[in-house]
């Protein structure tokens, strides 16, 4: 469903991604781990189409379409979802209004009928309960004065409403206490199904205790340096990233 080939990217003049390759199929859960500054979040943002990053080479195909040619909103309508590490506050726009507009934009883009206020309210109510989100949440402005945990839960609520084919969760566990993480992970597990792909981006192994990946990749200095099964995450947890770095430094000198 997602195919990343030799992807390179810069921000300003600084190379961040230096040739990333990754395939994600429906039903797969992938995790990308790596130290700070490895380029993990950059990869997520490039997939979503963030304007601050410039792709300098490589290809990304999503559901048979050249993802890099699409505007960010069209990527979302096609079924890509990225959960933000730092969700943005939008004063004056309510959660419900935001979600309703987003869902209808997606439905319209896919030739489906738009949901009426009543239909949407019903859907929102259902998903809200699954995510264990308080009812007053939906009337509040998007992320405004939300705690870190509330923001992350709100991201997962958006994912539940938008029902993506591929969800990229960027450091969803950062800043969460263990209870909040459990709720978020529970929400994600509820949404995951055989038709969907999931890409978890995380610094720690912790989240992977709650959402079990099928594949684990380690990214260092803009490249995936090691791939494996869930056992790789445990190894990283025990040994850190240092043992993976030398191969990279050698390569860097070449």
């Amino acid at each position: 469903m997602l195919k990343i080939k030799d992807l390179t990217a810069i921000v300003g003049h600084t190379p961040i991604l230096k040739g990333v390759n990754l395939d994600i199929n429906r039903g797969d859960i992938h995790a990308i781990m790596g130290p700070n500054g490895a380029g993990k979040s950059t990869l997520a943002k490039i997939l979503a189409g963030h304007p601050a990053y410039e792709v300098t080479g490589g290809e990304v195909w999503f559901k048979g379409q050249n993802l890099l040619e699409l505007e960010p909103e069209n990527r979302a309508r096609l079924g890509l979802f990225m959960s933000f590490q730092y969700p943005v506050e939008i004063p004056g726009v309510s959660n419900a209004q935001f979600l309703h507009t987003a869902l209808n934009a997606k439905r319209k883009g896919n030739g489906q009928s738009e949901l009426t206020d009543a239909e949407f309210a019903q859907l929102l109510e259902k998903k809200r309960k699954v995510m264990e989100i308080r009812p007053e949440f939906t009337a509040r402005n998007v992320n405004e004065n939300f705690s870190g945990g509330e923001k992350k839960r709100n991201e997962i609520l958006q994912m539940a409403i938008l029902h993506p084919d591929l969800a990229v969760l960027d450091e969803t566990d950062s800043g969460l206490d263990i209870d909040a993480m459990r709720i978020v992970a529970h929400g994600v597990n509820q949404l995951m199904n055989a038709e969907m792909g999931l890409l978890l981006i995380t610094h720690y192994q912790r989240l992977l205790d709650y959402i079990r990946p099928h594949f684990v990749h380690v990214m260092i200095n803009g490249k995936i340096v090691q791939s494996g099964g869930p056992e790789l995450a445990l190894e990283v947890e025990n040994r850190g990233y240092d043992w993976l770095i030398p191969s990279l430094t050698t390569e860097g000198k070449a």
Partner: protein, 477 residues
């Protein structure tokens, strides 16, 4: 297209209408003022009013404290009277110059009664002259007067004499004084005791002539226990020269009366690249809550004019009277706005609310300037002020200049202010959820302004929202 829409689309009102005009030559002197008065066949008290104002104007100086820049204005190079030659008769629009009628049609203001706006009575001012008023009959039945001030001078001269200059005195400020000397026309509204005006009243202002300044004078009188909601809209052709618009609006609310006054100002704002042309909007608007428990609300959506200098204010004289100011000022291109309000608390337990939303984009300058003054005798007075600014891009500026003077210990004043920036991250957040950038700007701006927009009459609120996003279409990414 409805009348509302005309005010609110992208600037397609920049056209000029070729009509035969009856104009006085350029320049300002006593003779000119006598000529204006004579053309309008005014009662003597008005000529005296004008001459007194002219005398004061000669000795007053142009205010330079506002946070705006413009080259000196040559007041002798301006025309102070210009009117379409074919004058309408008072009881019908059939004799109006067809070109003028077509202008209003193009602006989306249907003058023919059968096409009229549902439940909004409109008075049209073309350059300096009132073209006509719709719904006269229905208003008359309710005892409500909506007519041009030129007409009111004759039909309601006692009221005009009593109230003209009673809120904005003859020598109030440079521009108001100039207006008092040369004002040509404007709207007059009178709501009798106990009458709840059966419909929205509205005036549509159109500047057409290249050289003429526009100096309208609006007077709204709400008698005891009455209610009126009034809306004005403004457009002008796109000329490469500046036109001066120096209007005066006076509102009087007696005991338990309520006046809601809304403005949607979309004058031509000049060339956004060169800054050439556009209206200088130097306006004095003030209301007097003369009676106990009276209330005056100003709502303004200011999205046009090269320079705006405007502070719709309330004098809260009656005990328990209430003043409100809700404002959205949007500047883009090279526009400059210095706008805000004055709330003068004189009566006991008077209350005022100020909600100001400034949006600055491109190279524009947007300032809020406000005064909250609580007199020593205004015991128990309260004010709440909220001033929010939103910046779009890096080259614009937003400023806040609040002044608070509290003269007693039993009053309460609250002031909140914020500045935010509409940024790439916000827009990307919307886009990443499938919402286009245009729709995102629309939602952010209207979210930012919603406390003000909800104060507009319902039929105008939606259009005002559309106008805000259209204005910003080229300013965001």
């Amino acid at each position: 297209m409805t009348a509302e829409l005309a005010l609110f689309s992208d600037y397609k009102y920049g056209f000029f209408t070729d009509v035969e005009t009856d104009s006085l030559p350029q320049g300002l002197n006593e003779e000119m003022i006598r000529a204006i008065s004579a053309k309008k066949e005014e009662p003597d008290f008005l000529l005296a009013f004008r001459l007194k104002a002219y005398e004061k104007w000669l000795h007053s100086t142009e205010p330079l404290w506002a946070n705006v820049n413009y080259p000196p204005i040559d007041y002798q190079k301006m025309t102070y009277y210009s009117a379409p030659k074919k004058k309408p008769v008072l009881n019908g629009l059939s004799e109006v110059d067809p070109e003028v009628l077509r202008t209003f049609e193009r602006l989306g203001i249907p003058l023919e009664e059968q096409k009229r706006l549902s439940n909004v009575a409109v008075d049209m001012i073309f350059d300096s002259v009132s073209i006509g008023t719709t719904f006269k009959k229905k208003l008359e039945e309710a005892g409500v007067v909506l007519c041009s001030i030129s007409e009111a001078m004759h039909t309601h001269s006692d009221l005009v004499k009593k109230y003209l200059g009673s809120v904005v005195p003859i020598g109030d400020n440079f521009f108001a004084t100039l207006n008092s000397a040369v004002f040509s026309d404007g709207s007059f509204v009178y709501i009798p005791k106990g009458v709840h005006c059966p419909m929205e009243l509205s005036t549509y202002f159109r500047i057409n002539d290249r050289e003429s300044g526009q100096f309208e004078r609006t007077l709204v009188i709400a008698e005891e226990g009455s209610y009126v909601s009034y809306l004005e809209g403004c457009t002008a052709p796109a000329y490469d020269t500046h036109q001066l618009h120096a209007a005066v609006v006076e509102l009087i609310a007696l005991d338990h009366a309520q006046i809601k006054y809304a403005t949607v100002q979309n004058w031509y704002s000049g060339n956004p690249k060169t800054g050439e042309g556009g209206i200088y909007n130097f306006v004095t608007k003030r209301g007097r809550c003369a009676g106990i428990h009276s209330k005056i609300s100003w709502t303004q959506v200011e999205v046009g004019a090269a320079i705006t200098w405007k502070y719709p204010s309330c004098i809260l004289q009656g005990d328990h009277s209430v003043g409100e100011f809700y404002s959205v000022a949007l500047t883009n291109g090279q526009m400059q706005a210095d706008t805000g309000t004055k709330m003068i608390h004189l009566g006991k337990n008077t209350r005022s609310t100020i909600i100001s939303k400034g949006i600055a984009a491109d190279l524009s300058k947007n300032s809020y300037r406000g005064l909250v003054k609580i007199a020593p005798r205004a015991r128990g007075a309260r004010n709440y002020t909220q001033c929010d600014s939103m910046l779009i891009g890096d080259a614009c500026s937003a400023n806040t200049f609040p002044t608070i003077e509290v003269g007693n210990a039993s009053s309460q004043v609250e002031h909140e202010a914020s500045t935010s920036k509409m940024n790439e991250e916000q827009l990307f957040y919307f886009q990443s959820r499938g919402i286009s950038k245009e729709e995102a700007v629309n939602m952010i701006v209207n979210g930012f302004c919603k406390e003000v927009i909800k104060e507009l009459p319902l039929e105008f609120a939606r259009e005002a929202q559309a106008l805000l996003s259209i204005k910003l279409e080229n300013s965001v990414g």
